[in-house]
């Protein structure tokens, strides 16, 4: 039986490698019963999506010299 700590470690690693069959089974069993870890699993995917969109967003913030951005906000990718 996985603890939440172990389950969250697996959910994190699942972003970076293929989990083994037993790992997937234990994890599935845990997240079916643990809402907190099920939420964590969803959030691992969302973090990736948010980060990539953040990278593409132009925030149109002023440069360090204080000059205002004249271009206006651009839509993110």
């Amino acid at each position: 039986m996985l603890s939440c700590r172990e389950a969250t470690q697996l959910l994190s690693e699942a972003r970076d490698r293929e989990l083994g069959f037993k790992e997937k089974l234990s994890l599935r069993f845990h997240t079916l019963m643990c809402r907190a870890c099920a939420n964590f699993g969803t959030q691992m995917t969302l973090l990736g999506e948010f980060s990539r969109r953040f990278a593409g967003q132009d925030d149109a913030s002023p440069s360090a010299t204080g000059d205002p951005d004249t271009g206006g906000p651009e839509s993110g990718k």
Binding site: S51, F54, A55, D59
Partner: protein, 208 residues
């Protein structure tokens, strides 16, 4: 590593998409790096070296960071990481591999009880529909804030993995960390990022 003069380290950045949209921005970003590094290192010459290394290292994968806030976050994550390395070297006379994950946020003891279950107050909540949040400029400021709050090595590896999308072997090779160290760093980064996002955006209880 050979010293690179500022013209040379900047010249490759002229290919970056932001250079065309806002050429002043990259130059202004570069100008922020040296005072920051000098302040942390209290050594102008060392700070200059660290800044040059940062500009070179940050260029790998920089084209993925098309927004100003994102590029600044990326460059500063690398700068802070290199400053931390320089400080450790100065303190110990060498950098050992086991120190590379001693990044401040050493444990998740505040999140899990002794049985490994989530502590009540830390349990992840549902975040609803992301498409309802991501159109909001304030949301992206919170993302930026949460990334900047991470210890330097955690933010750097997180961005390398999730934005630049290097695989774990590539990151391990680039940073000279073991796979198990990298797993720990990514885990901690993700734990704290989601906590920060939940506190500062989705639950809004915390002051951020």
């Amino acid at each position: 590593m050979e010293a690179v003069d500022s013209d040379d380290s900047l010249s490759r950045w002229k290919a970056h998409p932001l250079w065309h949209r806002d050429p002043g921005f990259i130059e202004s970003l570069r100008l922020q790096l040296l005072p920051f590094a000098t302040n942390q290192l209290a050594d102008q010459h060392l700070a200059e070296d660290v800044v040059q290394e940062t500009l070179l290292a940050a260029f790998q994968g920089a084209d993925r960071f098309r927004g100003r806030a994102a590029l600044k976050t990326w460059v500063f994550a690398i700068l802070k990481n290199k400053i931390a390395d320089a400080l450790r070297k100065r303190r110990r006379g060498e950098v050992s591999a086991t120190e590379l994950d001693a990044d401040g946020d050493g444990s998740s003891d505040d999140l899990f009880d002794r049985h490994g279950h989530w502590v009540d107050a830390a349990q992840p909540q549902g975040w609803g529909r992301p498409e309802e949040t991501t159109g909001n400029a304030e949301f992206w400021r919170v993302i930026e804030l949460c990334l900047d709050k991470l210890p330097a090595q955690q933010s750097r590896v997180f961005l390398m993995r999730e934005v630049v999308q290097l695989d774990t072997a590539e990151i391990c090779g680039a940073l000279n960390v073991t796979v198990s160290n990298l797993n720990v760093l990514l885990y901690r980064a993700r734990l704290r990022l989601r906590e920060c996002l939940e506190d500062c955006w989705f639950e809004r209880g915390e002051q951020c």
